[in-house]
Symmetry: C2
Subunit: 152 residues, 2 copies
DNA sequence: TCTTGACCTTCCCCCGGTGGGAACCCTTTT
DNA sequence: AAAAGGGTTCCCACCGGGGGAAGGTCAAGA
């Protein structure tokens, strides 16, 4: 199998195949006399494994660990589970971060009339001021500032 | 105010200040005779606005739009609300994507003993096979494959 | 007055993953 | 024999920054 066929069979683009090889995620492919990379069905299995691991949002280094564990028939499942659990925790953290953003922004959007008038709590909030004190109303901040730090 | 002070006052690093200037998000700062950038308190307000907009996960181009609307005293709030609403929708999409990942991976991790034995449903699933057919059990796929495409 | 340290300037490289494309070589089909 | 459709390497771009080198500037203390 050449690189295009292996890519179609595994769901990994040829470009990424070469990249994965360059960063050492997969070993250097064997070559034909002309220099073409060749892949076995076993290689394709590995690539599909990688592809699916990436679908879980795992970064490259963790995927690399997993591939190593996968190929080690005597690995303790503890190590695998630990990687997965850490990933779940990170996904949860990211999710709650995004959710906080979404909720705050949604509250601001709901408070905005969205008509032809210029006053808008969204902009007022972003500017750090009370929402457009046009009529001397004491309006509370629409969205709680959800996090002090920048996104990671 | 020089760039360091403006950065501390706005929560934007000096590096990013130069970057924002280079991409045209903020206008070119005035300079002292020696070439130092100088910032007014108004500039700092704008930077803080930008910083907060970024906290909502808004990409640069949308932040730029918002800054423009903010500075236009006659903007219709409709335009602002539309940007916010779109951002909320994208955050929601991202959240459900991450949630699907998390749920699937969590289910696999729960099914994994996490002990010293090698059999592990996580790896079996990633390999696309039934989870380690050691005892000829017909075990279903632990995690639903949640999405066909790659992450955006 | 001179030195020192903190700051500023520009410039380039790095990250993660991925896509685009140029220039050139190889294989397969018409 | 030529053309199409692979392959190969190499470089560039994205986004939103961080790190750091080389050199200029400013303010405070000896």
């Amino acid at each position: 199998m050449n690189i295009g066929e292996a890519g179609r069979a595994s769901g990994v683009s040829a470009k990424m195949l070469r990249y994965y090889e360059s960063i050492g995620l997969i070993p250097q492919a064997r070559r034909t006399e002309a220099g073409y990379r060749t892949y076995s069905t076993g290689d394709v299995d590995t690539l599909r494994f990688i592809r699916r691991a990436r679908d879980f949002g795992l970064p490259m280094d963790r995927v690399k660990l997993l591939v190593g564990l996968w190929q080690d028939k005597n690995r303790p499942s503890r190590e695998v589970k630990e990687i997965a659990t850490r990933q779940v925790a990170e996904l949860e953290a990211k999710i709650s971060e995004l959710t906080a953003m979404k909720d705050a922004l949604e509250a601001l959007a709901d408070a905005c009339h969205g008509d032809s008038h210029p006053e808008c709590p969204i902009l007022s909030d972003l500017a750090g001021a009370a929402p457009t004190p046009l009529h001397h109303e004491a309006a509370p901040r629409a969205g709680q500032r959800f996090s002090a730090g920048r996104l990671p």
